[in-house]
Amino acid sequence: MNGAQILVECLKRERVNTLFCYPGAVIIPIYDELYLNPSGIRLVQPRHEQWGTIAADGYARSTGTPGVVLVTSGPGATNTVTGLANAFLDSIPLVVISGQVPGANIGTDAFQEANITGISMPITKDNILVSDVRDLSYSLKRAFIIAQSGRPGPVLVDIPKNVLVANSTFVYPETLENTPNKLNTHGSPKQIKRALKLISVSKRPLILAGGGVHFSGSLPYVNEFADKYDIPVVHTLMGNGINPKKCELRVTKQKEWAIRNCDLLIALGTRFNDDSPANSENISTETKIIHVDVDPAEIGKVLTPDVPIVGDLKSVLIHFLSAKEQILIHTDWIKELQSAPSCCLSNSSRTDVQITNELARSICRYFDKNTIVVTDLFISKPMLLELMDAISPRKLFCSSGLGTPGYALAAGIGAKLGNPETEVLVLTDQNSLQASMQELLTVRREEVHLKIMVFDHSHFETKDVLSRSDNTKKTNNGIANLSVNFAEFATALGMNSQITHCATQIEDVIGALASSSEAMLAQLTNADSDNQIHISENQLNTRSSLAG
């Protein structure tokens, strides 16, 4: 078999059913082979590799299996960098296969050559340049294992063209003897004992659940743990969906207060992101911390825990659950939590809270419990946490680590392709959608029945970062916010669309989106703002100054 055939066979063995790919000269042999042997792989071509990689991210987040991307050398590979960084910060399993110029030309600044292994080194869990076709199947198997094991992450495999056309016998290792996964630990029994001791004497304990809960499949165990030991639960943006049987244990609006005032913080699969309520400034020095994570480098990175436990979260929780420690009931603490002040409400403007509440209500009313909501970060993170809790058990995805504008549309495409029977609602705003708008073509071509809601610039006032700078309050500060009539653009593509010139019609718009049986884009505008650009062919003038 030649390299291309080996690659396709490997993908088949890994049960890959969707490939986000963009063609190019050096990967033609792969396209040729896929044409002859489709192998049950659906080829989805984005308009730009960045959004193809982000789509693979949305696919991976929603299915739990790695998103697989195939790009060509040079610009194809470099265009995946943002997607790789995004997946790296959020720990999403991705396998990106990039073509490379033939081995003999590497290092000669050949046409469409880029040192992607060098460029992506800090933002991939591992990457490899396959220089011999005999190493190809091993490298791919290794990539898939590394992407999914321990703490998931993106892996890049760079394959020069000569390897794709060279011949070799096909041997597919089912497992690797010295598995690169060094993180198969179950947590030190001594530390687990110390942790249980701390839990048994704590009067105001709090569980902080992060993305690790989902990656390790520990959701039911966390719920059981909270119920058994009577401990309230707070989650991060990556860790939503925690729902212990005792509803009073779910801390929603009082997250920041809870974290600041607990005496024991049990951090499960989280990294104390500086942009979350569980940042190091919000945690009191008096609080004792138990930190459970499968990645030893995360423990002690931001905060030094009193009890560090390195291990797979599921096995650690099973130990916690089987222990016969005395269990304290924390009624007073739980009561205190329920009447505690809600910090995010006091930090956000009233309209933001109002809109978020209306959005949550509308989504709960019109979209079923399996719906996946994908959003950009035009909604502030505290409001997003609120939204997440309000629409639970529906999932909500966002680019919480990297904060990529335009993430929502592309990830929504991936999520829908991975879950065709599930409704996927994309929440985006003008700036974000302008970044990834060409993927509306992909929505159309792949017949992805996405529901897209576009907000205006002025809908949400509290834009976290920008609002902290005084400069943005002035009008002529160099930031050019343009407004586009996306509904017209969508209509031009043949998509259902509607535009509503009234800020308060959120519920109607969501209702219209839900009742559409095909892809639909609905836009909410506030008023006729200055920087409007009309895209219909009938109106060729652009209003106001583009020079901004």
Partner: protein
């Protein structure tokens, strides 16, 4: 003076799989943290294993952090 924050010369010995690019990953990781590499030595111990020795000026807390991050690199076998 806080012992943890005191910087001192430190020799880190890293045992790695002799795969191309692994030296690059190790050096990349150390230098992106802004530490100055005082000395770097690399030798191949066998067909599959190599040893990289670096000397950096570093405090204890960050030494612990960088050791764990070095261990996270797939081809690294042992850090001491």
């Amino acid at each position: 003076m806080n012992l943890k924050n005191m910087q001192s010369q430190c020799e880190i010995s890293i045992l790695v799989n002799n795969n191309p690019g692994v030296l690059s990953k190790v050096i990349n990781l150390i230098s992106k943290r802004g530490f100055n590499l005082e000395r770097v030595n690399s030798e191949r111990l066998s067909n599959d294993i190599a040893k990289i020795v670096v000397e950096v000026n570093i405090d204890n807390r960050r030494l612990a952090l960088i050791t764990k991050q070095l261990n996270r690199i797939i081809d690294v076998i042992k850090v001491s």
